[in-house]
Assembly symmetry: D2
Homo-oligomer: 340 residues x 4
């Protein structure tokens, strides 16, 4: 069987270049095409001239977006690593060319079009695609992902929150009356590559802050996938490059013993290659997941209060890594290829 | 009036040397004596030979602990910046010499002697002094501090949690049935100067973790001062040197409007020099309090859910700064001297 | 005698706000005026609304630049902490108002107007002021500084290089035929407050690089003050906020013994309060000078090869600290006031 | 042909665990054995219990060192990632068992046994093996490496210095009378995993220093391979985890034009996969080589003064990466396997 060919649109950003890095050492797909949707950039440049770390590793050029070319080159799957609104604008045309898509933006994550103006700042014009899009939380939604044409790759914070919470919620172990608190901390690469005073080195080093309190756009994404709004999500900016740690405070259902909680998580993830459950009483650290596609989960309950700590690399399992994992599922490849 | 003379026992550690730094530029006290309780160190050394940053700033020597000398030198107040058990052992003898003490350790913070074996790992032999000790949360307990002989300087995390919570709790604005969640993050200097794998640079940089989950010794200190146990405290290690940020999730009493919450905090701190309330909708950042004695507090309520964020420098308002503030109060000096 | 009043033009940047911080705790001058030369900013804002760390510390407003007002307010000295070309444009008008100036930019550091187009990218129109300006390397040029009307405050890198080198050069201890190598490393705050990809957190953390190799504008400043061009200066960007360390490789004159080298440095700085010579065989570290106005110097010679390491805080002795030190000298105050 | 089996002795340290990480994704060797020479550790533990980042990736146990077992298991090559003296003690016995060795320590790098007491602090008892050992600077000494029984893997600093310097030196482009200055800066992981005050987070973050000035043990290694002592090497500690940057100042031979220098480097490395020459006028950055096995080299000459900047990952090309590269050469595999 021929090795599938894949393309990346938006390979210059942090998520896009991490996809390229992963694909370059992937044994069973071939990265053949890099395109940009940025019209200010005309002509063709060598990718490794723009991102020097790819010298001696990638000799592809960045070409201007060209739908026909993608078809002619027999591309099996396209990664979209563009800003939200760019992805929103490109997806319909790409789907019409029969291309399968993994969209790393938030443009097709929320099922209700009406939420976009408030949370993303633009009108969503493609509600039908919102219904079709499959949310790519791989371990939880694998069967649907296999068949997806348009895969909405999860946000970084939601991945860290949903992986531990969904099984507990589905098993009825979460008290339905109480608020869940999800206190999340992320490295700066999550804010992207565009310089700003929020990401200026002298402002970030030796500091720490909460941001977008009560109004972070990952809140509705978490609420949607969890099936309710009784979760308070707060984002914080860590003075590190890569990694997310979420500390999650759950009131368990009155009948839920610590043993049941543990059994539930082990049932969900005990055999998963890319989710690692900490031994009892241990909690994960960001450094053990940085530059990997793992989600590590530790937890401990006292009476009805359960503390869960989960860690991911925001560019790994929180973006590019999970995107490649989803590609593996969509193309029928072994799920961990290129990720271990 | 003669300028009061003060001494520091344990000036080599991070808190102790920060006290020295503050006292050196304090206009109305004189630091005359540095002593060590560490018996492995014999003889007398120049302080600035051990801590090179004090060259050209401090020409005192570190002398072995000598109770008589402290009396002879007419010391008005002694700072204890030693390990917990060392402070426990020294305090009675120092008090008998009529010395007033500011103890930065936890040895006299908990009123119940019975809590010490579990939370501090040693038997407390001086229960009467536990009753006498005044907890030094300056803005909250100023009148008692004025008269204190033995001042128990608050822990760093408790300071960041208690300053915003106590006024709300006392005003009845906190729902008595619900858990408060206090998710705190601290710089590494809070762990002290002794090297360990937990504080090894390569293990800390670009990482982040929770630690001592469900069993951090600052929990009972917070519970005691808040007057109840319905608070979950979790500590995390930030890859920075100095600073604490606590994100606090409170369910307000059903009758508490956002206006009442704000009014309560303004009533408590609106005129305080060293507590700064953020304008509405703003939240504090660690960098604005690092190397200061400020506690910055921001908050925002939605329905009955209140998020508070407070920041301090763990070595400033969380240790040495508050110790100097308490000294100012105890000696009848202007409270902010040497701190602005 | 009335306390002298001072003003800062450009107080929002890193150097300017450090000057403000120092002046607020200076016991013998009064900071009365903050002005901006940036015409895009109209109206008057509270300084502490723009720089939140100054809440409860400074209640001045930032006013638009107004020469008349500076005169009316009886300002004794103005700090200019603006971009180079802005300072170049403002200085003549300010001098005509009989104001004494400490200019932190490079606009009046080079004596030859002809050097400005190449090294600073603009034509210098005020050659006479270049001759008048006094280079503010305090310990070296104190007598001239006392009388200066226009003080050109030294660059950060030149301060770290010139303090150790000038005495050795003047004493004839440097081999006149050989190149001196000055390999310097600076924290990111030296690049200022404007975000760019060079100072984007994710690009700087866990990295390190040389920049402007062979063409850094501090080279001609060092050559000028040292009196020759036989010095290679290379700048590097450290992933820290504040601090410079320069490692300097000197071939000594064949007659120069290690004892003579040490004697020369001790003669120059042994009694200086703000230059600290390391004991033999010790070398300085950035952390001991960060947030101070010290320059620490260590050195060690083998045969004719001398290695010198000097450290400063680029915003302290390398900018705002030395500016305040120069102000003290110019106003006839004790030189270390506000700096220890 | 059977896939070669390899073993690592000392897999718990930073270099050892990086070797394990690389071998786990190497397609043509099998890591079958982890052993420890530390006698204080008895019994067998799961590697991933000690190094949590290896959970789900490596299910090997760490066994006590057992020469017979290595032979029985048909090990083709053993990596030694132990302290210097441990390697010194183990090597003879391992060689007698006909095992091929890649030793990452310095125990067999210096050809003169007499240098060990001064530079390494122990007597070297195995001078004959010093003569036999092949210095593993892969690109320079490939033919000898192919046949090596005992490969002395180069030190991290020497790798960064020697790769650019050896071709220039061999081509006669370096002025034989002048000193070369090699000013090197390394991340903290180079200091190993044992906590000390030098590597305590609070002492390293936001700081920078030179260390072991005039007496770093990598000096004689560089002198030996370069063929002379006219090079001054200074090491500095960067507040980062991984990476080395060396700034090298060379006086070129009077006849050497910039074109010749460039031609020489291109001749040496233009076709090398793992050495990347920067385009003219560009200089490398640590971040582009971190977590890789590349050495990046940039340079620029003015008159006879040549500045070279080289970067490596101290654990990659400076240790584990080059060790795996050397293994590939020794076993006749493609040289870049597992490294791109």
């Amino acid at each position: 069987m021929a090795i599938p060919k894949v393309a990346v649109i938006g390979a210059s950003g942090y998520s896009g270049s991490e996809i390229v890095r992963l694909l370059l050492s992937h044994p069973e797909v071939e990265l053949t095409t890099l395109m940009t949707a940025n019209r200010e950039r005309s002509g063709t440049r060598l990718y490794s001239d723009e991102l020097r770390q790819f010298r001696h590793r990638c000799d592809l050029a960045i070409e201007p977006l060209d739908y026909d070319l993608l078809q002619q080159r027999d591309i099996s799957l396209v990664f979209l690593a563009t800003p939200n609104q760019t992805a929103h604008d490109l997806v319909p045309e790409l789907l019409e060319r029969q291309l399968r898509l993994v969209d790393l933006s938030g443009a097709f994550r929320l099922r209700e079009a009406g939420l976009y103006p408030r949370w993303y700042g633009f009108e969503h014009r493609f509600a039908p695609y919102l219904s079709e899009a499959v949310y790519g939380l791989t371990e939880v939604l694998r069967p649907a992902i296999r068949e997806a044409r348009l895969l909405a790759n999860p946000g970084c914070y939601p991945t860290s929150a949903l992986l531990p919470l969904i099984p507990l919620q589905q098993a009825g172990l979460v008290d339905p009356q109480s608020r869940i608190v999800c206190d999340s901390k992320s490295g700066v690469s999550g804010a992207g590559k565009t310089p700003s005073s929020n990401t200026h080195f002298s402002e970030v080093t030796e500091s720490f802050k909460a941001y977008n309190v009560w109004r972070h756009r990952h809140s509705p994404e978490i609420w949607q996938e969890l099936g309710h709004h009784r979760l308070i999500f707060t984002a914080h900016l860590l003075p590190i490059n890569r990694g997310i740690l979420s500390t999650i405070y759950v009131k368990t259902a009155s009948s839920a013993s610590p043993e049941e909680v543990s059994a539930c998580l082990i049932r969900a993830y005990g055999k998963e290659a890319l989710v690692r459950l900490c031994p009892e009483g241990e909690f994960p650290e960001v450094k053990h997941v940085a530059h990997t596609n793992f989600c590590d989960i530790g937890w401990r309950q006292q009476d009805l209060d359960l503390i869960i700590v989960s860690t991911i690399d925001n560019l790994g399992k929180g973006a590019a890594g999970q995107a490649v994992q989803n590609m593996n599922v969509m193309l029928g490849l072994e799920e961990t290829l290129g990720l271990l």
